[in-house]
């Protein structure tokens, strides 16, 4: 029972991070129909730049909360700029290109960002200096740190804010209109290019914050860390129904829970034949099962499907 609750807590933290990243995938897919392969790498840029800024700020003698805030702000600005830049340079010229062209471009952009980061920050695993002193509480037999609680809370606040932005503001209306039909939205006076750029900006900012969370939670950052994380987050977005914002949140949380429960229990259930090294397999198997039973994902709508 203790293990169950512990894995639940771990899964929730992991799931919040997945959800934040999945939002970026799902928003861009909703509007452009594009799998932005480079999105996971923005998480990596967020983590690595955040780490560099944090070290710099601490070195300058700033207190930890201010240094952390500055690092997060810097990472968000950098990733936001990078996201907008990549949309402007790489994706916008391809609006009417054949379907696979933007996907290949996205793969190219991803390679560029990864190796650009490798040049700047080296290919080593960079460790976070031990500045975060987290307090551990015992809740129902499981160890919960204040860092875990703050990650989940911050993720929830960000997701609630995003939902409010999309549902209740003029910008949100413009985003939804662009998603439904970009041409007609344009005719109604919406600057769709601007809306798309803002979508990239929001997604990238969320990715940067997710990167900071990963950095604080796991304590290391690496130039290739965005790849698997992005893959999982994309899986989460598809699981929830790609194009659906609440779907990405649900999919992210579910995937996190499934992964941590599976890796916690599979060894016992199979008598040690399969261990936690099969963790990624379970994430993908669940995805395949969901898609076979409900191909549009959990919260997706069937509007895009024909026949």
């Amino acid at each position: 029972m203790d293990i169950f609750i512990q894995q639940l807590v771990n899964g929730l933290v992991l799931g919040s991070i997945y959800a934040l990243v999945a939002l970026g995938y799902t928003m861009v897919y909703g509007i452009l129909g594009l799998i932005n392969f480079a999105h996971g790498d923005l998480v990596m840029v967020g983590a690595l730049s955040g780490l560099a800024l944090l070290k710099g700020a601490l070195g300058a003698g700033l207190p930890l909360p201010i240094a952390l805030g500055l690092a997060a702000l810097g990472a968000v600005c950098l990733c936001g700029a990078l996201g907008v830049l990549m949309e402007r340079i790489a994706y916008r010229p391809l609006r009417r290109a054949p379907k696979l062209a933007p996907l290949i471009t996205a793969i190219g952009v991803s390679i560029l960002i990864e190796y650009g980061a490798a040049m700047i920050w080296s290919k080593q695993y960079l460790a976070l200096p031990p500045v975060i002193q987290s307090t551990t509480w015992q809740v129902a037999g499981a160890a919960v740190t204040d860092l875990q609680v703050s990650i989940v809370l911050l993720a929830l606040v960000l997701m609630a804010g995003l939902l409010w932005l999309i549902r209740a503001t003029p910008l949100g209306v413009a985003m939804r209109a662009t998603e439904q039909n970009a041409e007609v939205a344009g005719l109604m006076g919406i600057d769709t290019h601007r809306v798309i750029a803002i979508t990239f900006l929001i997604g990238s900012a969320l990715a940067a914050l997710a990167g900071i969370m990963v950095l604080l939670y796991y304590g290391v950052a690496h130039y290739f860390m965005g790849f698997m994380l992005g893959l999982k987050a994309f899986t989460a977005a598809v699981l929830g129904g790609i194009g659906s914002v609440p779907g990405a949140m649900l999919g992210g949380l579910l995937l996190g829970l499934i992964e941590s429960l599976a890796s916690g229990y599979v060894g016992d259930l199979t008598g040690g034949v399969f261990g936690s090294n099969y963790r990624d397999v379970f994430a993908f198997i669940v995805l395949i099962v969901v898609l076979v039973l409900r191909p549009v994902g959990l919260l997706g709508t069937a509007s895009g499907e024909r026949a």
Binding site: P93, A97, K99, A101, T105, G108, T235, L291, S303
Partner: protein, 395 residues
Amino acid sequence: MRLLSAGGRGVSSWSQPAARRMRFARTVLVVLGLALLPFVLDALAGRAWVRIADVALIYAMLAIGLNLVVGFAGLLDLGYVAFFAVGAYAYGLLASPHFGVHVSFLVLLPLGAIAAALFGVLLGSPTLKLRGDYLAIVTLGFGEIIRIFLNNLNQPVNITNGPQGVTLIDPLSLAGFSFGKSHTVLGVTVAPVHAYFYLLVALVALSILVARRLQLSRIGRAWAAIREDETAARAMGIDTRNLKLLAFGLGASFGGVAGGLFAAVQGFVSPESFTLQESIMILCMVVLGGMGHVAGVVLGAIVLTALPEALRVVGPLQKAAFGHVWIDPADLRMMLFGLALVVMMRWRPAGMWPSPGLRSSAASGPAAAAAAVPLPGEAPQSLAPRARGGPDGAA
């Protein structure tokens, strides 16, 4: 060649023999060129480049196979490397000291093809209902699952030898001629890389032939119909289910054969060689070369294999220019590779050598075809309304 009959029919159409002679001369030139190529490469660029040429030919087979699935049938497969892995491991496990079994490649290559085709159908059957990007992510997951299993199936029973991989795999050998040793033929020393080159060239030529015949056959035309509009294809009486399975199975069997050859040439297989990046690389070869165009994807495979190797010179160049290597050449060459992808898609989204006559719709779903400006005198190929902003008609 039909040189003799060509001479006898010269009256009715006098240009035919000339054209045929031209074609014959061209064939002879191509065969001669390919026969000399490994030795020319050896002399001019070194033994390493012969090896690179071998690798490029294996990639060409993979690209031809993936092109069946992605280019002909329009099914986006991001886990193609799994079939490559199945073929490679089938060969590696049954022709190495790992199990102490040494089966001939004449059995193992077809076996690899069949095993990979079975896996292709296995992957295809639950995913038939899915379209576009969903299919992409499921195939991607499938590829990762295969790799993770290869990586971990060393316990409780050691099947794949885990991350260490299978070593000391037998080289190909046929009727006493071993591809793993050097031979001297008419005073010319033929090293293993040379012998493999000729074998691979022959097999790639066979693959091209099979793929071309498939494309022009009833099956190929049905695939094109499914690619352009699946609903309409089904309405025309095409059995979309079986044809999509066939595309998966046939495409996978090319991967299986290529995998067996890879294991034999390399002498060693490990899960490292079958990552998602590899799948992506093969997809890039197909797309950059010209999706749906067999010659184009072969070109794509050759260029994308040679380009990163050629870009190795950036290290020494920096040293010459600045007296110091500022940027790790491996990183810089990956960056240039990424840049090449972006630039290519910006200026030539249909690939380096697009298939003639297929234009924009060849590489896209029906919605993108409708969005593209129709050529003069050519009706738009789909009247599907663009439901949303993006080219998501195939979603």
